[in-house]
């Protein structure tokens, strides 16, 4: 056993061990990506409850899919792909019942009860941050995803293509559409803010 341990263990090694059923290896992969995936889903969904549920779902799906993966697995892209599919599923279901617009508001509301020095509160209290997340929540799921991957996670168009199953040029255009949508939604959010400060009307405006 000491024989292989001397060689610094790279990701591919962990993956192949995890594929063979090595639980410790899966744990290592989980620990390496838990935060990143959670953060990504948090931005996609805009609240910690969904982030919890979907991170859990993502890693469970990953665990089950592991034996079928190829040897040269890009773990980051693969996990993001699973996570984004999980997010899209949920968002698609919710869009039908127009649940979404209220989410950010509700989330903000949750924070009101928190003590002032609560780190989570501090983290989110910043006005711009709240608006950015609110705008995200109002965007179409695919555009939102591309934008989060590009601007929040700082991924390259190539990686995004791999995650979303798109060609490079398709990524470019979904990013363009995403930025345009962000701009437009941002305006409506701003208008709503100024019209009735404090109380946000359904920003979709009906």
């Amino acid at each position: 056993m000491s024989g292989y341990a001397v060689v610094p263990v790279d990701e591919a090694t962990w993956v192949s061990r995890a594929k063979e059923g090595d639980q410790a290896a899966f744990e290592v992969i989980f620990q390496r990506y838990e935060r990143q995936i959670y953060g990504f889903i948090y931005r996609m969904m805009g609240n910690p409850d969904d982030a919890n549920d979907l991170t859990q779902e993502c890693f469970i799906r990953a665990y089950k899919a592991l034996p079928q993966t190829s040897l040269d697995l890009n773990v980051s892209a693969w996990l993001h792909r699973i996570a984004s599919n999980a997010c899209l599923d949920v968002l698609r279901r919710r869009q039908r019942i127009r649940w979404l617009p209220w989410e950010s508001h509700k989330h903000e509301h949750l924070l009101h009860g928190k003590p002032l020095d609560d780190p989570e509160r501090n983290a989110i209290s910043n006005e711009t941050q709240v608006i950015v997340q609110r705008v995200l929540n109002l965007m179409s799921a695919r555009n939102r995803m591309a934008l989060v991957l590009r601007e929040y996670e700082g991924m390259s168009c190539e990686d995004i293509g791999e995650i979303m199953g798109l060609s490079r040029s398709a990524v470019k255009s979904v990013l363009f559409r995403g930025r345009e949508e962000f701009r437009k939604v941002y305006r409506t959010v701003e208008v709503n803010e100024s019209e009735c400060p404090g109380e946000i009307a359904s920003p979709l405006g009906h």
Binding site: M1, S2, R43, V132, G154, L175
Partner: protein, 563 residues
Amino acid sequence: MSRRDCESIRPLISAFFDGELTPSESMALHKHLALCGDCRRVFDEYQRIRTGFRDLTPSPPPPPDLARSIWSETIDRPPASRSRRLLAATSLKVGLSTAAALAVLIIISAVLLVRGYNQGLTPAVSSSVPLTDQNWPVYQPIKIQFTKPMDHASVENNLQIWPPGERSRIPMSWDNNTLILGSSTSQSTLFLPDTTYQVVVLATAKDSYGNPLGKTFSLSFRTSPIVDTAKDSTPTPQPTPNASPTPGTGQDPAIAQQSTVPSSSVITPPSQSTPQNVVPTATATATPIPTATPTAPAAIATSPSSVVNTPVPTPTQQPTAAATTPTPSPVATPTETPAATVQPAVTPTTADLAPVATPVATATAASGTPTASVIPVTGAFGSVYWAFTDVQTKLGAPLSPEAAMNAAELGFQRGTMYERYDQSEIYVFFSNRQWTKFQDTWTAADGTGGGPAPEDQLWIPKRGFGLVWNSDPNLESSIGYAIAADEHVMGGVVQQFTNGIMLYSDQGFVYVVYDNGTWQLYPDTSGHGDLITPTPVAGETPTSTATPTATPDATPVSPTATP
């Protein structure tokens, strides 16, 4: 500007932010933005989207029980196809605990063994993004990857970024062995556009086992300009400051000699820009000449045969090297110098390499001193003067002890301004390693002046600096805008030498200002104990000091080299 034009341009704006533009698309975008206000607004908005995302704090950490609930669905409930797993599942708790114990054991033993393996190795920088001299987008963080785990605090304490002021503004974080500049877990920042950066990790930075880096790492790059019509006229002048560095001085703003890792080519340039300087100093001080050679590629030291090829870059140095030959004898008295304490440190390293070199090395160190036997060069200045023999050569002997004075410094996109209040003199240091000096004529009656520049994070300088900046229209294109609204006022230090001065900036830099119109920047390593001399010199000086010895030994070779 027709609507159709805009429609075709908008996707290009987006692609610009993804770094996906072809040169011709980029040109089309530039042209269009120069004329179309609407699209400029869109450009700004895209940029603000990016800033908005970058300013998002990281999401709250996943709850600790998340892992547990995932285990209960995965590892604890393994796929039925595997009989080995099934067995584990039946023995449930017991199986789990043994599996966990085994896992822990594997990890611990792996960690221990890897650690033992790592412990002894000297750390180094294995790669950087960008590479030296690359053009770099302002929004892309810089990555410096080390070969092994580093002591984060130590690296950060030994990290310097030029232009001054940027060190404190740019957030940093770590991803395993990689240092990331420009983004941290809580924030990320755009680099300044169209700016020459120099990032230095000092040789004293330690890995997590306490082994020092040993060689100073230096990386220089220039950021790409952000498209902005207000500065549409600048692109043309801008190449000028850049043009001169590229052929010779390369990454230039000059911690040059130390940048061992990124490219050895960095080592050669300094001599090229100052060849005229080398010669006069040589004649003046006579002895320090051997130091002229340190800049020559290290290869010379190792294989005499290569000497024939290497002299090419600096023909001017060859005569000086020849002049050296007589000098080695005077092993002199290194102790003459008050600061001589430093020199012994040089000698041992040299001796390790080639015993022959030892006398020469001592001669070198001692040689600078005869003229200056009583005037010390210490502290930050000493750490540069005694560590870099070419600085000694070019600067000559100290004429007076160092003197404290009030000073101010202001970083610019492609240079800095440094004012000595004792003389009301403003030095302008250009990133192409030229400098000029202005008299500060500013009085309160002139008004503060200054203000924000057309671009975010950039300013028009105030007061005396502003007056100078406004007086010469070329300065805007050569050094660019100020990178802070106000100058940094500090206690400065100056020391006069035969051929120039040294100026100290408390932002961690020593400016070596030569009378011939060039300058060099060195990190202040004096705050790092007595490691000063051995570390930066270790890699380079011994090899280079060995050169003079190689010359006398291989007498047939040096003549061929000289012409």
